[in-house]
Amino acid sequence: MNRLSLFAKLSISLVVFWLILFALFPNLLVIGISFLTKSESDFFTFAFSTESYTKLLNPVYLSVFLDSLYLAFITTVMTLILAYPFAYIIATVPKKYKFLLLLLVIIPFWTSSLVRTYALIAILKTKGLLNAFLLSLGLINEPLQIMYTEVAVFIGMVYTLLPFMILPLYVSIEKIDFKLVEAAKDLGASKLNIFKTIIIPLSLPGIIAGSTLVFLPALGMFFIPDILGGAKELIVGSFIRNQFLLFRDWPFGSAASVILLIIMFIMLAFLAKSQKIESSRDKA
């Protein structure tokens, strides 16, 4: 290691200090407090216990987690199905259109998910656009109740998170060497076979990255189910919020957050592994 100048030392310590104080330490606090005991008068008392974790195994709380995992999983699958052909199209259009088409995906990607969730209400409500459209086509005789149902929550999740799936998929499909496809065609491979044995495996890193980017926010989100679903079903996000702001049970809320962190690390491990494979292939 070469000797660092004062400027380098100062800038490194400043940034590292910030991240330790406001990112690492708070997370360690969550883990630490999850092993403490709830207190009636204060947020917690300093007594080691695994009570919060055993409490999570109660079927009532377990079902909150299972419901949230189910919601996040279905959301991920639906966005993947919708986004894949689209990302493929964008990745294979002539170069001069690419920037514009991509920009049109990036705009909603950066737009507040609250604003976009709110925008959906005008479409989904009983007297909204979707019902008016279906009625005028004669497909239905009376307006459907979509708002405040599970369907609305799914629509909201998929709509909000779709760009998070499209962008990583686009990046990895764009990297595919389409000479391989040509070669496979020359050798007589069917379209389905090319897709199964070339396109899908080569875009796997994008599939994993996109799924991570959709699954994790979908798991922790609380305002979409709140606004569109009427918060009938409890999901992890609102559950954690309630433990902190309503019931003041810090250890219990922390334990639930630790589970979320564990899920995140599992997904990140997958992501890192798939990217390692990709970069070793890039070098080859």
Partner: protein, 251 residues
């Protein structure tokens, strides 16, 4: 077929936003049906004192946190690019973990920290939280630009006797300015739009726009919110266009 599917997805992405914008100019109180063009909901916004306060709070937090996050993030990116130091790998990993970290966990962990050190919730706590979640995005944006940088130029400057700081100001900085500005604009947008983390780290007397919208929506839809959301969308649109233009330039 390809064109059809692509247009279908774009319609999906933009239809709700388009409807929102159209209704924000609708003279009717009930959003169904068109009763003529009007600015009345925008005028209503201007009469809404607490909303204006929230808007001002949002702008102050977004601007100050973006300035600080960009400064710290640029130094962080530079450190990752230029120097070897103890814990560099952990630092690098932490940056990516922070980007992926569930917002709700970041929100409550910071809330616990602030309660722990008894820092009153409000502007300061929002500022700290927003700097923390924006900085990794700045680091990644600036680092991407630095990675396209010819290290020989830095060596040349050093050989000619430039100090580390001088090399940074005269050689590196002018080259990565577009990425820094892009990082700044993205921080501004991220901070301006954040709901979940802000929800936990702000106090009752320091309201910001997204949280105000959230509580208004829960009480029932009012047409003013259409106008407010339209303004927020336009803000994001301008930031994205500007930052993409900067990132794309000279690549």
């Amino acid at each position: 077929m390809r064109k059809f599917y692509a247009s279908f997805i774009y319609t999906l992405l933009y239809l709700p936003i388009a409807v929102l914008i159209v209704y924000s100019f609708n003279a009717s109180k009930y959003t169904i049906g068109w009763k003529g063009f009007s600015f009345m909901w925008y005028e209503k916004l201007l009469e809404h004192g607490s909303l204006l306060d929230a808007a001002w709070h949002s702008v102050s937090v977004a601007f100050s946190s973006a300035v600080l996050a960009t400064t710290l993030g640029t130094l962080g990116a530079l450190a990752l690019f230029r120097y070897d130091f103890f814990g560099k790998k952990i630092f690098n990993t932490l940056v990516y973990v922070l980007i992926m970290s569930p917002e709700i966990v970041m929100g409550i962990s910071l809330l616990m920290l602030f309660v722990f050190i008894s820092l009153p919730l409000g502007f300061t706590t929002l500022l700290i939280a927003h700097i923390t979640f924006c900085m990794p995005f700045v680091i990644v944006t600036v680092l991407a630009r630095l990675n396209g940088f010819d290290k020989n130029i830095i060596e040349a400057a050093k050989d000619l006797g430039a100090s580390e700081f001088k090399t940074f100001v005269n050689i590196i900085l002018p080259n990565i300015i577009p990425a820094i500005v892009a990082g700044f604009l993205l921080s501004l947008t991220l901070s301006f739009d954040d709901v979940i983390i802000s929800f936990f780290v702000t106090g009752p007397d320091y309201e910001i726009l997204p949280l105000k919208i959230y509580s208004m929506v829960k009480l029932g839809v009012k047409p003013e919110i259409n106008a407010l959301c339209t303004i927020m969308f336009v803000f994001t649109l301008v930031m994205v266009l500007f930052s993409q233009f900067l990132i794309k330039e000279k690549k």
